[in-house]
């Protein structure tokens, strides 16, 4: 049993006489129930073992220090010894009370009182212990604090050295979250205009999560089902417990340095609030916000949003939902490409069929004179309107295009099928027609643009 030596030079003998190791032991075993009644003697003094001779030479028992004015002990001896007794008598224990006089000292430590209706005790939280406490409590907060009862020797005050603290209704957690949220908001990191559009067709998806977690399994299976050729790249990080925020930040920074991912999913499966806490760490939120690659946050099945959710470009409710948001369905994309192919061919066909510009010009002039014409000669107006479409190809011819037609002018020739080598056809141009002969027909692949007739390039019956 080793005890701290009093600091004022009092001998071992004195210390042992007053509060020797043997007598102190029973009191420690009953620590939580120990009472330090001001009117009663120290527990050691009541012990029958008190008379056991000290190990070293010492004053006679009836002359122990403090028993007479002549042997009065120093105040340091008193308070230091009182501290040792109290620390030995009390296990660390949870106490509850209301916080008052809270002060953050510039040395980093927190000082405050805990009180109820009729009593109070001074408390301290050393700077190194503050990481176990989500946020500093406000005055008036009802808390439970885990602390070691001791004596602040310099003042002789009873003091509770607090190592952990919880507030009713998760008050401290909520406060910590709110403080971090405000800090992110001040820096503009929550602004909706910061949100980046996710790639629609990512080739590489980075996944920052625990390599052994259910989240990764879900993301892999969903992503591979949707598009098996999408590359999933795991960037492992611890997602809960000591060191998790640091690992998540480091993984996100690594993805940023790598730069070869199109989108990054950061998250984990569901869990208790403490398990998800890393994703409420302000450092993690800032790492997500500063990631150069679009981010999807996927934390658990929680209804509550984490800070990580608030700064990510997209918040997915679960890891599976994140994979769905990141990776398109292959079959849908095949259909989309087919649709675009049809639309592209349709659009060029329509564009060639009508000399839109010219047609609109005529339509405008018709509209200007239209009302008067209608008043006077409705029949004439209808006739003009009917000519609109007929005008259209002529306007196209005026710009240097020609229409290939069969010799008798009855059909428009728009395909290699319509031509035969040596055959004759007619080219309609701006100011007349030209008789022509086919020297060679070259069918072209349909994916390689319009079919080619030897000589002029033709598209749907137009020749340039």
């Amino acid at each position: 049993m080793s005890r701290r030596r009093p600091s004022d030079g009092v001998s071992d003998g004195l210390s042992l006489d007053l509060f020797g190791a043997e007598p102190a032991a029973p009191a420690r075993r009953e620590a939580p129930r120990a009472r330090a009644e001001p009117s009663s003697p120290a527990p050691a003094a009541a012990s029958p073992e008190f008379t056991i001779p000290p190990l070293t030479a010492a004053p006679e028992p009836h002359e122990f220090p403090g028993s007479s004015a002549a042997s009065a002990v120093g105040i340091s001896t008193l308070t230091t010894t009182a501290r040792e007794v109290l620390e030995g008598a009390f296990m660390p224990l949870w106490v509850r009370g209301e916080v008052s006089d809270f002060k953050k000292h510039r040395n980093g430590h927190w000082y405050f009182s805990l009180r109820d209706e009729s009593a109070q005790v001074r408390c301290v939280v050393w700077a190194r212990d503050q990481r176990n406490i989500p946020a500093a409590p406000d005055d008036g907060t009802q808390v439970s604090a885990l602390g070691q009862v001791t004596v602040y020797v310099a003042r002789g005050d009873l003091q509770l050295t607090v190592k952990a603290m919880e507030a009713a209704g998760d008050g401290l957690w909520r406060k910590a979250l709110e403080l971090a949220r405000q800090s992110l908001e001040r820096d503009g990191l929550l602004a909706s205009e910061r949100k980046r559009r996710l790639p629609r067709f990512p080739r590489r998806v980075a996944v920052v999560t625990s390599p052994s977690g259910a989240a990764l399994h879900d993301i892999i299976s969903v992503a591979r089902r949707r598009w098996p050729a999408v590359e999933l790249v795991i960037v492992p990080a611890k997602v809960q417990g000591e060191g998790a925020p640091e690992e998540i930040c480091a993984a996100l920074e690594m993805v940023g340095r790598w730069k070869d991912a199109d989108v990054v999913i950061v998250g984990r499966g569901g869990g208790a609030r403490e398990d998800l806490w890393a994703f409420n760490d302000e450092r993690v939120a800032r790492a997500v916000a500063s990631c150069p690659i679009p981010t999807i946050s996927a934390v658990g099945h929680e209804v509550d949003f984490t800070l990580c959710d608030l700064v990510a470009d997209l918040r997915a409710a679960t890891p599976s939902a994140a994979a769905e948001a990141a990776v398109p369905v292959h079959a849908d994309t095949v259909a989309k490409v087919r649709r675009l192919s049809v639309e592209l061919r349709g659009a060029i066909g329509r564009r060639i069929a009508f000399g839109e510009e010219e047609r609109r010009r005529v339509a405008r002039s018709l509209a200007r004179g239209g009302e008067r014409l209608l008043e006077r000669r409705n029949a004439r107006a209808r006739q003009l309107a009917g000519r609109l479409n007929a005008l259209s190809p002529l306007a196209t011819l005026a710009r240097g295009y020609a229409v290939a037609r069969s010799e008798d002018g009855s059909r428009t020739l728009s395909s290699v099928e319509d031509f035969s080598e040596g055959g004759s056809f007619s080219l309609l141009v701006r100011d007349g027609s030209v008789d022509a002969t086919v020297s060679r027909v070259k069918p072209g692949g349909t994916d390689n643009g319009p079919a080619q007739v030897d000589g002029p390039e033709t598209v749907d019956g137009l020749v340039r």
Binding site: P199, R200, R203, E231, V235, I348, R350, T396
Partner: protein
Amino acid sequence: MTFEQSMDRLEEIVALLDGDELDLARALALFQEGIEHLRLAGEELERADAQVRLLVEEADGGFTLMEQDG
């Protein structure tokens, strides 16, 4: 040119061709470009299945993708 860029450009080309303002030569050039994007997109759609890999940062600052099971 990524698949994403090809798809974006294809949609843009279709929208341009459906608009009113193009002369025919420009329309034909866009059509040819669209056909090329369709070809690239088709290649991407046929890409082989990928493995899940692990990102590893080397001491020299380079990156390696390690094959993973699963």
